[in-house]
Amino acid sequence: MKGQILANLRRQLGAVALLESLLAEEFSHLSTRQPAAVASVEFSIQELLRQITAERHSLHALYAALDPQAKRLADLVGQLDPQTREAALGLYEAIEKTEQRSAKQASRNYAMALGLYDVTKSSLDNLQKLMTPKKGVYGARGRMASATPPPGMISGRL
């Protein structure tokens, strides 16, 4: 059982390390503005996150098998022999650190994606503004359109 816990933690460490490198890759695609590449990396990230969640569920099951009350490693760390405890805590710490770095990178990716979105959106907004009839324009039914009409299907003018 203890071996399984350690194996699970090792797999998790590998997974978060991969997550970190995938996020870094995503950032580099974002900075060179390659949406297709970003999308494919994002799929991998989502799948990896799903796998990490599955690993965590199975880890909780392992904890529960050792001690029904235990929900976290801290709850049963006292029951482990010193060698296993040291290894488990070491892995836990490494996972935690990698996760922190990944979280930081994820927030950078988010900011970058949002920035690019803002740039594109402001251009689209401007385009829409240019296309919207201003005033003195007849509408489809032969009536003068309002000065600032709400967005709608373009008809007539173009």
Partner: protein, 710 residues
Amino acid sequence: MSGITSLLSMGAGALRANQAALQVTGNNISNVDTEGYSRQSVVLKDGQYVNTFTGQVGTGVVAQEVVRAHDKFVEAQYLTKVSARDRYQTLYNGLQSVQNLVNESNTDGLNTSLSTFFDDWGDLTTNPESAAVRQTLVDDTETLLSTLRSEADSMRQLEDQADQSIAAGVDKLNELAKDIADLNNQINQTQIDGKSNPNNLYDLRDVKLREMAGLVDINVIDNGKGDITVYTTAGQTVVDGVVAFDFKFEQGQTVRQLSPTSLGPPVSDVQAYYDGADNDEYTLKVVSGGAVGGGAAFQVSLDGGRTWLTNDDGTTAVYQAEAEGSKVRVGDLDIWFANVDDPDTPAADNLNVGDTFTLVPKKALYWYTTAGTAENITPQQYADGTDNTRRLTGGALAGAFLFRDEELGEFQDTLDAFAKSMVWEVNRIHSQGAGLTNFSTVLGTNAVSLTNVALDSRSSGLDFGDRLQSGAFMLYAYDANGNLAVDGSGNPVQASIAFTPGVTTLDDLVTAIDNAFSPPAFSDTYLDASISNNRLSISGVNGRTFQFGDDSSGVLAALGVNTFLTGSRASDVAVNDVVGTDLNRINAGHVGADGLVAVGDNLTAKAMTELENTAISFYVAGKTTVNQTLTDNYASLVSKIGSDTAAASYQATYQAALAAELNEQQLSTSGVNLDEELTNMIKFQHSYQAAAKLVSTANSMFETVLGLKN
């Protein structure tokens, strides 16, 4: 005109129009790789219509004008992003150089030297008398100090480089402003609305505007033709139509803003002056009125009056306004008040509450209005890290200034604070110890500017004056045989020399030492104290020697007497010559209760090794005093440099991506697409052929008409 002739002229017009369209297409294709070139096209317009018996008949086509494809909205956004991109890129480049300075992954740096220094003192505790250990200690200390000096020197070189790149940037900015004004003039002369557009001039102007946005953050108002106004986002005009404004990178100017009382009449004649240089701007605000040197006092802010400098205990620091003779030390400057026209002439008027003086002790960027008045637009960051929006905030110039003043300036201050605290703490311990041989004469390494002002006063000129405390130091005299001297009554010749904050001057100390070691205290003169070049000098009389003991005041360390190190900042720290030339003067031991230095005593060396793990205080002007060990303090400087570099790198990447996105959007409008141009070429070629056919048709029609007579 109607009939066959009109057909001919219509054909000729169509030939001309399509030829023009083909020419423009050809020009587009030729300039496909030209930087800044915008795609051009011919505006074709149908000609006049003529009423004929068959109804209105057109007269053909007219090539109206050649226009360029350009999106002003995207361009304006692009300019903003370019400013942000270049600001962070420049900042990042600078920070990377600093990071390389403190990078210890490949070589032994300051951290390693620091631990070696403490290890050597540890070795001295086990072998206090070993000349070899002493020599190693001096050598390793010199390595440590030279690393420190070299880091400070490299930082100063980076500062010079930043200055040079700013100077070049400002020249470029002025040149661009003139070029744009000149282009505006040319555009005004060349353009005929709706007919003749100088597209190349517009393109060139856009290229220059982009270049300018890379230097400073600008906004552009385009009122058509050459009537554009370019101004910084803070509002300073750079170009207004055909007029260019001037920017100058020059030595900072002192500005005074007087209170209504001082404005008089008559207007106050008091001005603030300074000696020294710093990357911060100092705002002095008078908080107590009165005469200069007669009660007037001021506070100091390093961020334009948002926060005020504090004392070590957190209270706002208040400095006395003094005349030139007793300059007040504030941060890195010596400040005094004098007549507004001459720094050497005393001011006649009083300072009044509210009078404010801004000192800019560095080279700064000024914007000159047409009236010739200068406005300081050097980028500035407040204590909370936000930008002063009335100054430059974007472009490579802002990046270089922020690197020089905010980042590098702070690193230099932190390194200086590190050096100052290290020198002080080491000297505090060393000055209370004793070497293997007694002193026959000693000369302090630190001079005061005035011998008759309290040593802890801000006018004393002592770098460590602010660290002095109420207390006393012990001084022991020895006879020619090295035994503790005793007077006629058998009393040991030793004395405790007291120091009272705010009172004791260097003159007082000399008098106190003389009084304690000569009549009437003793019947003979044992020691003679004097002042040499404003430094404390003590000599044994008649072959007598002396040693120093416990010092609760810090006076010995502050005056550089019996100390291990000299200097007070990273660029001037060194091993005290006294120790460097005579290894016996390294204090491993101390004067014991019997007044003698015991052989093998290692008390001072032990105290020194304990310093490695002792938290000491580090003070940087404008920042909160921190308590850390020397190693931790340096490590936090290195990690600050690392995190600032990483942040600048991220910002540079982020802004570069956004700018690239906008550039691409602009290119999708104004860029030349060869496929499109080739299609156009075929289209216009066909139109040209059709027009030619029209001419030949008209010709054959003519021939038909002319053949009628046969």
